[in-house]
Symmetry: C2
Subunit: 202 residues, 2 copies
Amino acid sequence: MIPPVKHLPANERRAVTVETVIKLAAERNPSDITTAAIAERMGLTQGAVFRHFPNKDAILQAVIEWVAERLLFLVDKAARAAPSPLAALEAMFMAHVNFIIEHPGIPRILFGELQHAGETIPKRIAQTLTHRYRERLHRLIERGKTNKELDANLDREAAAFLFIGMIQGLVMQSLLANDVGRILHDAPRVFAIFRQGIRNTQ
Amino acid sequence: MIPPVKHLPANERRAVTVETVIKLAAERNPSDITTAAIAERMGLTQGAVFRHFPNKDAILQAVIEWVAERLLFLVDKAARAAPSPLAALEAMFMAHVNFIIEHPGIPRILFGELQHAGETIPKRIAQTLTHRYRERLHRLIERGKTNKELDANLDREAAAFLFIGMIQGLVMQSLLANDVGRILHDAPRVFAIFRQGIRNTQ
DNA sequence: ATAAAGATAGTAATTGATTACTATCTTTAT
DNA sequence: ATAAAGATAGTAATCAATTACTATCTTTAT
């Protein structure tokens, strides 16, 4: 527990706010994270939050922007360190999974935002994120094909789709079971089936 | 649009209420489906809703019970009609996907409920549902192994897990893209990779 | 050098809107 | 006739947002 620090510069206060929201989301339904709760956790009064964000939506937007940036960074780092395209896919998968385990509130916030009908700003940011994410997957899959590691006839889009779906499935199951740790247990086993589904069987 | 019918017997009114909530969830964030909105859609006043349910949670609970019962029924029917275990898995998959396309509000309601921290009654019902669902998958997978259709060394639990995760992934992507129709387009392609991952390659 | 002026961060109290829920009266189907 | 279904008119609680005010730095003019 970080001792409440007051009179932070505005940009630091905004960063701490984002951090606080992510922590709160790990403990409760994101839709009942009130501005009062955010303030209390930071050791401020409710009104002070609105000195740094014009409204509540702007807070959520900042959270999602942070997540998008951070996740792509971690996933890229993991992929770069891997010796082959297939190994890079697995490294990306595990990096993503570990990111979620470290910040279990994040998928809850994202799922909550996706619930909103129609286009919203957070949804646009999430769309851009998945677009960039898919680009990386497509690139690795094509390299795996030329590498003969992956099946030459593999449906690139379906594979990228399944990759992301696996992670979302792992998260949903962990929410249902109230047990984040099980993600770490199930992830490699699920990836093993995926690997069998995409690899070159010649 | 069903013309509002008044003075329904209590059990029919409860059924209509469940139906109405599912329809509303297809149009908006489940967390802002108010009792007033439910009543308005049925052509009743808000107070009248509480003649049939003790509180709002009881409505949600009834919705989730209906979903659990209906989904298992449809999935069982599809599996029974299939000629082999692997075909039954695919039939289950497509039956589930079609159920969601017909009622796009359902996954949103379920996801919303899973967001709540700790144990809630709807969560318990959803846990029972996935437990029964997994039992059916395990049974089919074992039959596929003895049948030589599936890989004898296949990790049964991981496969069942991936099966459910694929559907959840399809739903998340369709929420993100604001396009339910794309589920129908992507489902068979994703299943093809899964099939390749579980089948007997001897 | 230093006092005045202004910027920055936060407080405390309030407001208006929303929403689940309730008590009591009225209508309708059998 | 009467019991079930619904209408009406509330209440109490919650919550995002606003606002007047304070304390503490930082800059600037003399």
